[in-house]
């Protein structure tokens, strides 16, 4: 009970925080189901549901009745907190301190029902969440899974409507669905119900028959399996190739941004994930790549006037060189000390390109403009849809190199250095060259990303290369799963792609990052798509072939 009250209090405080920083109001502009449930409501509901399920889960001895009561209590407290906020807001002008405590917020919170009706409504809502969480907790695993997946799909479809609608519109059979599923803002009610039922049915069938299908696939003859793998691979490539045509301008732009971060993430993944060297100044190499291209190509400075492809090898080479140069002084540093030193390096580069002394060469605060676009077979890569291919090629190349490196001798040396530097040395691993190669490889990938970035934008400015970029990349590597190549992809989509798609997020990006990192560390410290190694460590005893013997 004490636990339930505690969780309820935390949940309530979180809800009030979300309301007062304006997140709920901002999110309420977008509907999940038109005129019925907005994204703001979903957010409130989601937090309440999460907290109450936690409350149910933490019940000692797994007593079903107690679990239900605990969930209900937590839910009531959360509802109560919001009710208190509404009452307080109507009595005192909270706006003097909290500018986001607008009348509109109270309207949203009370579902436009006014304060008198709103308070019992909020309390009931809270209790309902608790009841639902309790029910979920007590129901069978299958039911829970189906319900969570289908509810998640409805919310996901609502949130990503801008992405889904144009995609569906392209293909006859699916474009019919558009009419039925989407309205101008949010899903239609019937569409939402239909989608829910459809996904529920599908996930139910998969849960029941999935194993059989998987077993059948595994039971295929090796040659058939290879055919299957190749077809999947080719389909994937085909999809990747036609993607920008399907998605249109805006979404292709989002994809290019995600792609640039994937390149950066893959590079940092080598430094942090493979070799275990925490680099907080990683943006420096991004800047070096971008500025190298700018200086070498821009007619504004007029030094070299190379083409993009002529300058690219130099940009990458300069990146590698600076990777070595950073590596040498920090060779003996570990952990926090390394992080601080690299953080400094990142700032040094930013301040250098900003400096007035270097203005004739690096453009100072005004940056460098008129950077030419890349040409492939005579076609200028100018629009996001075209640049997408450039970035896709880069990502595939860098992904392939990462993957080969991971399984190479050098990859094993990195792994040993990450696990234990001294022992690695005693095994005959050259610490100096191993670490320097990690920095240099990471820097090369980052410089490539910077080079494409410069050519994409056509200009570079010092303020594009601040420490936040480094933080973003670190976050996406951690959220994706350190050392995991697909993890970088997942992390980049989750932390870079989603905020770009949801304009409501923009203002709260950092808050969401922070919350996501904390949540990850608590719930899934190995990352969204972890490397087997990490999973092994953190979920020891859950796998069958590894049992402690004492």
């Amino acid at each position: 009970m004490k636990q339930a009250i505690k969780i309820g209090l935390i949940g309530g405080v979180v809800e009030i925080l979300l309301a007062l920083i304006g997140m709920i109001e901002a999110f309420s502009q977008r509907y999940i189901i038109i005129d019925i449930i907005s994204m703001g409501h979903t957010l409130i509901f989601l937090v309440a549901l999460l907290m109450t399920s936690l409350s149910a889960k933490r019940t000692p001895h797994g007593n079903p009745l107690r679990a239900m009561i605990n969930a209900l209590t937590s839910g009531l407290i959360i509802g109560g907190f919001l009710a208190v906020l509404v009452v307080m807001g109507s009595l005192v002008n909270l706006r003097k301190v909290f500018i986001n405590a607008s009348p509109l917020l109270y309207q949203w919170l009370t579902f436009n029902q006014g304060i008198k009706a709103g308070i019992p409504l909020l309390l009931t809502g809270g209790a309902l969440c608790g009841f639902l969480a309790g029910l979920l907790f007590l129901s069978s695993k299958l039911f829970r899974r189906v319900l969570i997946i289908s509810l998640g799909s409805v919310v996901g479809a609502g949130v990503l409507q801008d992405l889904l609608r144009p995609t569906f519109a392209l293909w006859g059979p699916l474009s019919v669905m558009n009419e039925w599923l989407f309205s101008a803002n949010g899903l239609t009610l019937y569409g939402a119900i239909g989608l829910f039922v459809l996904i529920a049915a599908l996930s139910y069938v998969w849960a029941k028959k999935g194993n059989v299908i998987r077993a059948n696939l595994n039971g295929l003859s090796p040659s058939n399996q290879r055919v299957l793998r190749i077809t999947t691979f080719l389909t994937l490539i085909m999809i990747l190739l036609v993607l920008p045509q399907i998605l249109g301008l805006f979404l292709s732009e989002v994809l290019t941004i995600v792609g640039l971060y994937v390149l950066l993430g893959l590079g940092l993944n080598i430094v942090v994930g493979f070799a275990g060297l925490l680099d907080l100044g990683y943006v420096a190499f991004f800047a070096i790549g971008a500025y190298s291209i700018a200086v070498l190509t821009s007619p504004e400075l007029g030094f070299f006037n190379l083409s993009f492809w002529g300058a690219l090898p130099f940009a990458i080479f300069i990146g590698v060189l600076s990777g070595f140069l950073l590596g040498i002084p920090v060779l003996k540093m570990r952990g926090d000390y390394l992080a601080i030193a690299t953080l400094g390096f990142g700032e040094i580069i930013r301040i250098l390109v900003l400096s007035d002394v270097l203005r004739p060469w690096l453009g100072g605060a005004q940056g460098i403009g008129k950077i030419p676009k890349a040409h492939i077979a005579g076609i200028e890569m100018a629009t996001p849809q075209q640049i997408y291919y450039l970035i896709l090629a880069g990502c595939l190349l860098v992904g392939f190199i990462s993957w080969r490196l991971r399984d190479s001798r050098l990859g094993r040396a990195w792994m040993a250095v990450r696990e234990d530097e001294d022992v690695a040395q005693a095994m005959g691993i050259n610490l100096i060259s191993t670490k320097l190669l990690a920095f240099a490889t990471g820097a090369a990938f980052s410089a490539l990303s910077g080079a494409i970035f410069a050519s994409k934008l056509g200009s570079v400015y010092p303020h594009s290369f601040n420490v936040m970029i480094s933080i973003n990349i670190i976050c996406l590597v951690i959220v994706g799963g350190m050392g995991s190549i697909p993890g970088v992809l997942v992390g980049a989509f989750a932390l870079v792609g989603l905020p770009e798609l949801l304009r409501e997020f923009a203002e709260y990006r950092l808050l969401v990052y922070g919350a996501a990192l904390v949540a990850m560390m608590l719930l899934r410290p190995e990352g969204l798509w972890p490397e087997p190694l990490q999973r092994r460590e953190l979920h020891e005893g859950e796998s069958s072939d590894a049992k402690p013997n004492h």
């Binding site: 001294d422 040395q425 005693a426």
Partner: protein, 237 residues
């Protein structure tokens, strides 16, 4: 010529003079033990030998070749391999992966396979658990793994740093059993131990280190009889 010759080695930690002219030799096929109290400089000597610390004076030779100024990874590749204090296995890797890591300096795949078979033969326990994550092994098994990992590198000489540290008495017996076994296989070992009683039982010769100076060196048999050793290290009066 001895296999390993350490001659008049002086090592400093900053201003602190830790090893004050230590000389020591180990011959092919023998077990030599180095005993001494905490802070006598035992680990410093091992670190100096394996290149993690640099001596200010003196020289270290393996088979007559000077390696005083070689970097640690080259020293390891030349066959002077450590079993580190506190075992320090790669906790997140499996037993097999740990062992393979030990053979990092070897590029001949066939030789690696042979070494792996040999280690598994020596430690059947590790074979049973070859897929297990090393961090979940018991202390004794981890010591086996650390030793096996060192053996994977085809060492000319094995430097064992406190192999019995932190193990239950029954496991300590097991560890010394392993050392004896390695000895009969012909492995040369320099054994650093606090457990002087056990160390002097398996070793042929021994050195006593005190405050960075070798104060005694003799056959293990004689050391066991020595008045000072008995008082200070064997706890007999």
């Amino acid at each position: 010529m001895s296999l390993l010759e350490i001659e008049n080695v002086h090592t400093y930690y900053g201003q602190i003079h830790t090893l004050k002219g230590v000389s020591l030799t180990v011959d092919q096929g023998e077990i030599v033990t180095l005993i001494g109290a905490n802070g006598a400089g035992k680990s410093t000597l091992l670190k100096t030998t394996s290149g993690l610390l640099r001596p200010r004076e003196g020289s270290i030779r393996l088979e007559g070749k000077d390696l005083t100024h070689d970097p640690p990874h080259e020293i390891a590749a030349k066959g002077l391999v450590q079993v580190p204090e506190g075992r320090r296995v790669f906790g997140r890797l499996t037993v097999t992966e740990n062992l393979e890591m030990g053979a990092f300096a070897i590029s001949d795949q066939k030789l690696i396979k042979e070494n792996l078979d040999r280690v598994f033969q020596l430690f059947p326990r590790l074979k049973e658990r070859h897929k297990q994550v090393a961090g979940t092994l018991s202390g004794g098994e981890q010591q086996m793994l650390a030793t096996g990992r060192a053996l994977m590198a085809n060492p000319r000489i094995l430097l064992m740093d406190e192999p019995s540290m932190g193990l239950a008495p029954i496991l300590v017996d097991g560890i010394f059993e392993i050392i004896r076994k390695l000895h009969t296989d012909g492995t040369t070992i320099l054994l650093v131990e606090q457990n002087a009683r056990m160390a002097l039982q398996v070793a042929g010769r021994g050195y006593v280190l005190q405050s960075g100076v070798v104060v005694l060196s003799d056959s293990a048999q004689n050391l066991r009889q020595n008045e000072m050793v008995r008082n200070a290290y064997l706890g007999e009066t």
